[in-house]
Amino acid sequence: MPVDTELLDPVHLASIEDYSLLTRIVVDGALPGIHRSQRHGRGSEFFQYREYSTGDDLKLVDWKVYAKRGELVSKSFQEDTNLNCYLVLDTSASMGYQGSRSSCSKLRYACMLAACFAYIANRQGDRVGLFAYSDEAKAWLQPRSGSGHLNRIFTALAGLEAQGANDHRNNWDSLSSGLPGKSLVVFLSDFLEAEEELPEHLRFATSSRYECLCLQTLDPDEIDLPDSEALRFAEMEGTHEISTSPPAIREDYKAGMNDFLDRLKDNLALVNVEFESHTTDAHLGHALHRFLGMRYGSL
């Protein structure tokens, strides 16, 4: 499928503050047709009228309409998929990092992705929920469908700020205990230092009722360190400081980071959780396809 990568470039998208507009640009503009039509059939919820075609079940013919207008029309119903899409967003201070090579912070990038996911899911008729946290829950919207709810999600995303230390353990526990049935849970975080504890807490994903996708958002600086001869690094979620020369430690750092990413991916695979890592200078298409592929089949 052709993808207008320029429209998906965060360099352009970062300047759009309105998530409603952003999602329409991304989903309707750059990824036309990525969403399938809704499945219509014998669900419980009336969807629309359509012209009667030969072979339609006569039970579906609306006789009242026929009596009034003399036309045969069949009622169609929307299938009740019972799917909930839960977007889980890490808003700890480390997510506020924005290196010189990025046009937006990690949190902003994750929010843009989350907004697109919510928009797509809503268009598909799924219920969408949002859970944002750092040291405590910052936003928690239970899954619902409809444009009004979608706007509430966009508003909540716009109000998020990166601050506080992360407390994955307590927040994930709170979330997993309150998950509704048959859910797709999308985690958006940098997952720093969480390669051991994260799989433990995502064991619920091994159940057939849940699908889980972990989208890791990193800044390019986190992959290979910033370009500077000497820096005094200060931890964003702590008080620890280290003075060092990035060029001198770059190779060791990259090796350590790669090892961390591999272990994270492996550990998540053990609990049947899909994992995708991307940097904030990458366009949004890859992450969107991954999301769509999981929920709505390969496109």
């Binding site: 720093l192 000497a230 931890e235």
Partner: protein, 660 residues
């Protein structure tokens, strides 16, 4: 010492700084894979870094100089001549020194002093300012002669001016500076004087004179005319009134006289209680004499305050006139005549009187703006005003600070239209209120705003009389909101009863929205009417204050471009004003300040050792500290050093070069 210390410190610090790598604090999500590493040194010997090193060396050199507190010494001719001892004699020549033989005693003591003083001698004679001065000189006779000829001034004594000037007379190169002050140390003059002369290296010698009759904190034996004024005393008579104060601890019997036309006209005995006062007055025929002198006949310790000059002339009257229609109706004639009589009876029993000068008002009506008129009353403004095109004349009169009272005519709406169309007063006419029912309850004036000008005048009974005023009919008008437009009087319903427009030049136009006769209001019959009229006039530049100005010696009076400076007490003419100049009452005060208080204000006379140790310290006053300049240069260099030594980003190109 500071230079050596910094030189010793600078070497190791410079060595350290030359290889210092400044690291910026950089917030990063996780330090998990970040390891400490040896920070590359910047002290590579490249030409750029040599310049940085040079900047750092200069910075340290500047800091060393900064703490050494360098001074720039300007060549001063005074510094070249090393003068030994200088003495400046400060002599109080305020009027009070003429009493109690203060000046006589001072001169005698100075004579003796000049025989003893070594080195150069200077002189400052002061009253309200410096009257005479001689810089320190070897010519002692010159100083002696000047002091011998000195006389007291008339202004209020201002020792601060004398002391400040005396200090400036000292040469900077003088090794010893002495100030000798001779004064009666009258409390009113000296109580605010302050200058720590000891901290300036000047020794002070305070010598009290004129204290021969000092008892406790004050001097005995003085009677003074504390106050005097002339006022009308019935038809054709004038009263000269005075207050005599006794500053002694004993009752005094004396006599007081009034001298006019070169002769003593009256004399009377008075008894003044100890530390008290008594009044005396003389009645003289008005017009016989323009001025008079009140005199205490017995001499006392301070003669200057035994006389008081005063004018017996009444100030010229304020002039007013009328404009009205040439075809006056009965109502207008009644109103005009009533106002004429009422205003002429205003004033201080004819002393501050108003005079109807209709010819001046007529002259103004013909366009002669030079016509002298303090108040113009337009009774029954109507179409005649517009027909004669009087609005421009009135505007010019108001612009010149004139004061105008306007009453309406009938139809009322036409009066309002004329005022509005001629741009004199922007009013909207609503209707005439109260015209139909003659027997109805009259309209009342509402309570004056407490902060208003009128409220200060009308209080108690006066206010009650004003509030009892009945207004039977009035034109309901709405003045446009504009700058300078006020409604000083309002009805209890909040409708304007008087509308005033004050022009920026001070002219006032006052509009009564009713006629000032008994058919419209009983206001003209009220006791409060004339005070109200006068209060509405008061404060306007158009009405000249006719009371005679009284000045103390040393004060000035400005009228237009001319200035009158009061010197000797007496009566004087200044333009069309009659001015009384009096001796400052504070000079009659007998209290003297204790020497200990004055010493505290001027320094005890003890010269700190470091000040008199050598003349070098005195010379330092002439040199200018360069501390600020060095500080500025050091800050600039520090900023440059910081910017220069900031870690720079490794550009992609540089990286590729390094990798290659």
């Amino acid at each position: 010492m500071a230079l050596w210390a910094f030189a010793a410190l600078a070497l190791p610090v410079l060595a350290h700084m030359a290889y210092r790598q400044v690291t910026n604090r950089y917030q990063f999500p996780s330090l998990r894979f970040i390891k400490p590493a040896r920070i590359p040194r910047t002290g590579r010997k490249t030409p750029t870094d040599w310049l940085l090193l040079l900047a750092r060396i200069m910075l340290f050199a500047l800091l060393a100089c900064l703490f050494a507190d360098p001074h720039w010494k300007e060549p001063s001719p005074l510094n070249d001549t090393k003068i030994g001892r200088e003495t400046v004699i400060a002599l109080d020549l305020s009027p009070s020194m003429s009493g109690w033989d203060g000046l006589f005693e001072a001169k005698n003591r100075i004579d003796g002093l000049l025989e003893e003083i070594e080195g150069q001698v200077g002189y400052v004679g002061f009253c309200s300012g410096v009257l005479e001065e001689i810089a320190p000189t070897d010519q002692i006779e010159l100083v002696r002669s000047a002091i011998a000829q000195s006389t007291t001034g008339y202004g209020t004594g201002n020792p601060q001016a004398g002391i400040d000037r005396a200090v400036k007379l000292f040469s900077l190169g003088a090794k010893e500076r002495n100030l000798v002050v001779l004064s009666d140390f009258q409390r009113s003059d000296w109580q605010t004087t302050y200058r720590r002369l000891d901290e300036e290296g000047i020794s002070v010698d305070l010598r009290s004179v004129g204290h021969s009759r000092k008892v406790g904190g004050k001097r005995e034996g003085n009677l003074s005319l504390a106050e005097a004024k002339a006022a009308p005393a019935g038809l054709g008579k004038v009263r000269a009134w005075t207050v005599v104060r006794n500053s002694s601890n004993e009752l005094v019997e004396t006599s007081i006289s009034i001298e006019a036309g070169g002769e003593i006209r009256r004399e009377k005995q008075i008894v003044v209680p100890a530390n008290g006062a008594t009044q005396a007055q003389f009645i003289l025929p008005e017009g016989d004499f323009a001025s008079a002198i009140l005199k205490l006949t017995d001499q006392d310790e301070f003669a200057e305050d035994n006389e008081r000059h005063l004018w017996l002339k009444a100030p010229p009257p304020r002039r007013f006139g009328f404009w009205s229609s040439t075809n006056e109706n009965k109502e207008t004639i009644e109103e005009r005549e009533f106002l004429k009589v009422a205003i002429e009876s205003a004033g201080d029993n004819g002393w501050n009187r108003w005079l109807s000068v209709q010819e001046n008002a007529d002259g103004l009506r013909l366009g002669d703006l030079s016509s002298e008129l303090d108040l113009l009353i337009v009774t029954g403004i109507g179409s005649w005003f517009a027909d004669e095109k009087l609005e421009e004349t009135m505007k010019a009169y108001l612009k010149g600070g004139g004061f105008v009272i306007v009453t309406p005519s009938e139809p009322f709406a036409a009066s309002v239209s004329i005022l509005r169309n001629s741009d004199l007063l922007d009013l909207d006419f609503v209707r005439v209120v109260g015209g139909a029912g003659a027997t109805r309850e009259p309209f009342r004036i509402s309570a004056l705003e407490t902060s208003s000008h009128l409220a200060k005048t009308f209080s108690g009974k006066a206010a009650r009389d004003l509030y009892l005023t009945g207004i039977y009919r009035y034109g309901l008008v709405r003045p446009a909101e504009a700058e300078g437009v006020y409604t000083p009087l309002q009805s209890t319903e909040g409708n304007p009863f008087v509308v005033q427009r004050i022009s920026p030049e001070g002219g006032k136009l006052t509009f009564f929205p009713y006629r000032l006769n008994i058919r419209w209001t009983d206001l003209p019959m009220r006791n409060s009417f004339l005070p109200l009229l006068m209060e509405l006039v008061r404060g306007s530049k158009g009405v000249v204050d006719r009371s005679w100005p009284r000045l103390e010696s040393g004060e000035t009076l400005v009228d237009g471009e001319e200035t009158f400076r009061a010197e000797k007490p007496g009566t004087f003419r200044f333009r069309d004003r009659f001015v009384e100049v009096v001796l400052a009452p504070s000079e009659s005060i007998a209290e003297v300040i204790e020497p200990s208080e004055t010493r505290e204000s001027l320094g005890t006379g003890f010269i700190p050792e470091k000040v008199i140790a050598s003349g070098e310290d005195l010379e330092e006053e002439e040199s200018k500290s360069l501390w600020l300049w060095f500080a500025i240069a050091a800050v600039i260099l520090f900023i440059i050093e910081n910017l220069w030594s900031k870690p720079r980003r490794t550009t992609v190109l540089e990286k590729e070069t390094v990798n290659a």
